[in-house]
Symmetry: C2
Subunit: 451 residues, 2 copies
């Protein structure tokens, strides 16, 4: 499929270039809405409008949901309000609540107006929770039954519900069992329903090992619960354990994907709502901030070097070798930083084990520091024939390895305590420290011992 | 939960330290096997043996499955063969096939010996496919029905199956409809089965919009199909469309998690089967390779600087400012590299749009290059009072920004063509180029214009 998709992008680009509408329509027919979303992401800006115009309105709701925020806003601008209203009617309540912030207010108003009172109520419930909580992820279509009824009665109820609503909720693997006060008692798996004697009661068959999710739990915690318990769906409850809705595994997959994207992009100061072909001014501003931060840290390093100008004038080999020290310190430190940051993100690293882990990491970099210090010692002797310079170089490299590791272990823990995401700021702070310390130790020791 | 888990790690560490077995058992009782796996990951090595010993054998199979390979091998070494056999009997066939490479051969032999002939056959089918293909991910418990039978007959069949096997397959949301030759015709959703008149036939109710997955498709492609179609399970077929098994969404989540971990860790040359508390010698060797590669690239940069020793002796400010040029080139390039590498991983970037994308990126770095070149021009005048030096510095920074961007766009495309994963090698190659080019342009221009 991977190759097939790439070919599709290529063919579609050609068709758009040649304005071959028939070929474009064929590409659309062959694709699922989520694939169409990815196709638009892959298209340069100049083709997007033409492509968007020919996509059937019925698909546009799901496409808007599947693309990144920035692209979504662009596509919404290219859609008439009437078309928007039609396309949004295909979405579930939690999906609507995810994208309503990007819609024109008049459209949101008209959309709510068009709902019946039950849907209106449901939409308001979901919209009242932040997007990154269980309440914001949940859909309010949880199908509930009582525990004192027979399985046969459950069948009858489901048949009736289907006739009334036209369909059952998507990704339905279990019904929620509630009491008269809507408190969750357990769940009834469809696979039990279809394989047990239907004269049994719900109470005989229901399970109570499905974890309840509280509406205010974070999306990250929800994802972890789904992963640990291999869930397809789970009921969401309020603080009295009353049923509010349910979360399905497709929402969880989206959360996991977004988190991993964010980690990857954040380390380069890139916007997670990234559209490759976003307007140039927009991308430039987004990246300029990160470049500015980096420029400051680079000048900190330059400022440290500045103190040793006279040493460098006397022994210019120092200028040649100093980037090696800084670079090795940076890499050693970033290895530890990655391990610790990842551990924090997965709740595996905390004050309970950071001391053990730091000591463990320091032992590793002691060994590697010794190894590479010996290597550069011999390289320096071969290159400059100067064992004193070699010794200073090796010593600095060894010390900066340990400093890098120590910084790599402590920076994310400190940032976490300060409420800053280590995945974003950790790398810059580390490099600033390893550069400054690297230059200081190398040029300082050299000035003291060699000059 | 996140905080609760961290507290659990902390309490457990204390209990292990004090050898308080009652508290340890309490911690185990409160946890799901997958959580126990994460607890072991978070424990320093010295406590792991004591903890592992008190965990009930019934949980050990799922824990072995959930932890990283390196830790799994450690835990397997700490388990008797008899206990291993018991714990493995709780796993599904695809799960067994995932970890069998880590088991002692005698255990694998005894395990297969203990299976009935049907299970033996199933296990061999799954084990015959590589782990990273659909065949390796699938379980062979797909429940199949014929399309000419009534829904009532399907109920009777499922009740019988349940009595025979004790349970239905996990995460069962749909049955596969096959013909006499075992060719897949469509699927029957349980939610349709429970809400339609049971005198209808399977043919009336079945859907044929579930994509078939071919046994040799890659795990990455499978994950994309599940994401695009919001699937819970999907049938896996051979090249004649005959049913082989099914893949469930929990396997897909594991694939997604592993891919995102790998991307994060690969950029630091870290092993993806990472155990934080792995033996020091083991970690040291793993990291030494990356440090060695980095040392070579650092010496390439040093070698370039070496050509300009006499220029630096005459104008030592060059040594002070040169790391700034290299650093800004590196950051600009890595921003583009991240965008393109991520695009390639998601099939959004290919030869169809790389030219458009590269031009788009170059425009961005033209703007940012101009901006930051102006800034450093003024800083240099303030610092050194030398507008000629400022001009050379600014020019070099501008040129290296464009070089970085061009490298960041082309390196991953070239690596991809060569069959190398851009996420692993891209960063090092980019830094080598931006460092070397940065020093060369800055020192070269300075030598030509200022010395």
């Amino acid at each position: 499929m991977s190759n097939a998709f790439i070919k599709l992008v290529s063919k579609l680009t050609d068709s758009l270039e040649q304005k071959n509408n028939q070929a474009i329509l064929r590409a659309i027919e062959q694709s699922h809405p989520a694939e169409l979303g990815r196709l638009i992401e892959a298209l340069p800006n100049k083709y997007r409008g033409d492509f968007w115009r020919v996509i059937p309105v019925a698909f546009k709701g799901e496409i808007l949901l599947s693309v990144h925020r920035e692209l979504r806003q662009l596509l919404i601008k290219k859609t008439s309000e009437a078309d928007l209203l039609v396309s949004l009617s295909t979405l579930q309540m939690d999906e609507l609540a995810d994208i309503d912030a990007d819609l024109p207010l008049t459209v949101v108003g008209a959309m709510v107006e068009a709902m019946d009172s039950q849907r209106k109520q449901r939409y308001r419930t979901v919209a009242s929770f932040p997007d990154n909580t269980a309440g914001g992820l949940m859909d309010v279509d949880a199908t509930a039954v009582r525990k004192d009824v027979s399985l046969k009665a459950v069948y009858r109820y489901l048949c009736k519900l289907r006739k009334k609503e036209g369909m059952l909720p998507e990704q339905l693997d279990q019904l929620v069992v509630v009491d008269r006060e809507n408190k969750v008692q357990g769940t009834l798996y469809l696979s039990d329903l279809v394989s047990m004697d239907n004269s049994l009661s719900v109470a005989d068959v229901m399970k109570n090992n499905v974890p309840l999710i509280h509406s205010l739990q974070s999306a990250k915690e929800v994802a972890q619960i789904f992963e640990d318990h291999d869930l397809i769906s789970a009921p969401v409850v309020d603080k009295n354990n009353c049923l509010l809705g349910r979360i399905t595994v497709d929402d969880v997959i989206d959360v996991l994907q977004q988190n991993s994207e964010q980690t990857l992009l954040a380390s380069g100061g890139l916007n997670k709502e990234l559209d490759m072909f976003a307007p140039i001014a927009h991308i430039s501003v987004n990246r300029a901030i990160w470049l500015g931060v980096n420029l400051i840290t680079a000048f900190v390093a330059a400022w440290v070097i500045g103190f040793f100008e006279s040493s460098i004038e006397q022994l210019v080999a120092l200028a040649v070798l100093m980037p090696v020290v800084a670079s090795m310190g940076g890499v050693t430190g970033s290895q530890t930083l990655t391990v610790v940051t990842r551990g924090i993100a997965r709740d595996l690293v905390s004050s309970a084990n950071i001391v053990s882990l730091t000591i463990h990491e320091l032992k590793v970099s002691f060994i590697n520091g010794l190894l590479w210090a010996s290597v550069v010692f011999f390289i320096t002797i071969l290159w400059y024939g100067d064992w004193k310079l070699g010794s200073v170089f090796a010593l600095a490299l060894f010390v900066v390895s340990l400093t890098g590791t120590l910084s790599g272990a402590l920076i994310p823990i400190i940032l976490k305590k300060l409420g800053v995401d280590p995945a974003i700021a950790g790398g810059v702070i580390l490099t600033t420290i390893t550069d400054a310390v690297g230059f200081l130790i190398f040029l300082g020791t050299a000035t003291y011992l060699l000059i």
